[in-house]
Symmetry: C2
Subunit: 267 residues, 2 copies
């Protein structure tokens, strides 16, 4: 397979752009097609059947763009729809943020008890705990849904007293369990890292699933001989199902750079 | 037309159940078909073209249920898609939460300056200010988007310090304008009434668009000779596009009573 084909990254909205940002930094030669389902975001409050249906549609779209790898950047889809996506992808490798986060967390020697935070659907799926326990059955995992973090990030209240008070309330039960690691199980949460670091204190290591996903993608591409060897600049495409008010502003906050032209597909 | 036909009420999700609740209290003989687009909620962050498309689909569905009146319970749809809905409805009367809120606000003799709060799409559409100015060009209107109120209500933090702090921050600029009325321009906001009353103080009258919509519906049905004369119990149907986690709990909080059986349609 041609290593110069793009990587397909997908998410329910803009959050997955934190994964794209980490991929651009870790794999600067790779071309990327990003798909964000902004007309139907957020997935975290929808039923499993609906999320599976949407995930299959998006996977088919990206496979139609001749991608060499699929990255499920949406924790909610990774939690409940990876089987559906893998079945669509066939021989194309699929990696996801939950697998990447679980691997990175368990690999750390001083991980201690493991806290996991995410949307209600991600947490109720128990996907992080299951994947972590599949890697190490002795791991202690404490999970907490944080439904207000996504709207707080989208409001831009990244360092706001309301966000701090909300984080203190959500994290109180997890912090009572003497954890050593906290997995940020939602692509919006890396933007809250400085505030969360303050709230959890210096003893707790934050696991950023955007960074761990880029790392796992790099390892997988190398292992499969699929890394790009191109000398020129990579191509980036951003495809969404809706371009709502403030999309450009919010998207660029996640990506950490200009988005350029955004394409809209109509379903 | 048969007055025993149901009223069709629609919303992007569960919020419109506050309007249904007010209708049940004000018009206890009327049957109601409620449609909530829970698979695609929230609309408040989507583009106008997408909202118009969704609104037309829902209007067609309810017109297919032989409703005698359409009530647009979603402020976002009322703000940007009423023309599309009226064109679909033809001779069937259409009333909406913004029209009802604007009429009730302007009608009050001591209204003073008028504050309006809502989702970003509702506020940016300027629909409340336009409808209020059409009724009284001398009205002073001060608008403020409150994007975190919907997630805070859905989290159930109706009387929480985080919600209070958020309300104080959002309302500060509006309260600086010496207002006499505050229009709750989103169907989620009636659940925050006690907290908002505290934050705005006793001098400011809260206009609850669920209550004003039920009042306008009653007046319109009477004026058109369309009120139900049935002696038996009315029928209530609740149709949604997705039944997510916690739907029943959240829905019943809005409705103030049991939802009974909820039907799901697949699009």
């Amino acid at each position: 397979m041609d290593g110069d084909r793009p990587i397909g990254v997908f998410d329910s909205g803009v959050g997955g752009l934190t994964v794209v940002r980490a991929l651009m930094e870790r794999l600067p030669r790779e071309s990327i097609v990003y798909f964000g389902d902004t007309a139907r975001v957020p997935y975290g409050i929808k039923s499993v059947a609906t999320i599976e249906h949407f995930a299959a549609q998006i996977a088919d779209f990206l496979l139609g763009q001749s991608v060499k790898m699929l990255i499920v950047a949406c924790n909610t889809m990774a939690a409940v729809a990876t089987d559906v996506i893998r079945a669509r992808a066939g021989a194309i490798p699929v990696i996801d943020v939950i697998e990447a986060g679980a691997l990175a967390t368990v690999a750390h020697p001083d991980r201690g008890g493991i806290g996991v935070i995410g949307t209600p659907t991600t947490i109720n799926s128990n996907a992080y705990a299951r994947r972590i326990h599949a890697l190490d059955s002795s791991a202690r995992v404490y999970s907490q849904a944080c439904p207000l973090f996504v709207p707080l990030v989208e409001e831009g209240w990244l360092d706001h007293p309301v966000t701090r008070m909300t984080a203190q309330e959500y994290l109180r039960p997890v912090l009572a369990e003497d954890i050593g690691s906290l997995v940020l199980g939602c692509t919006h949460y890396p933007l809250l890292k400085p505030l969360l670091k303050d709230v959890v204190g210096p003893e707790v290591r934050l696991i950023d699933s955007a960074v761990t996903t880029a790392e796992l993608a790099a390892e997988s591409l190398n292992a499969m001989g699929l890394a790009s060897r191109r000398a020129g600049l990579p191509a980036y495409r951003f495809v969404v199902t809706d371009i709502p008010l403030r999309f450009q502003t919010i998207g660029e906050r996640f990506l950490g750079r200009s988005l350029g032209k955004v394409e809209r597909v109509d379903w």
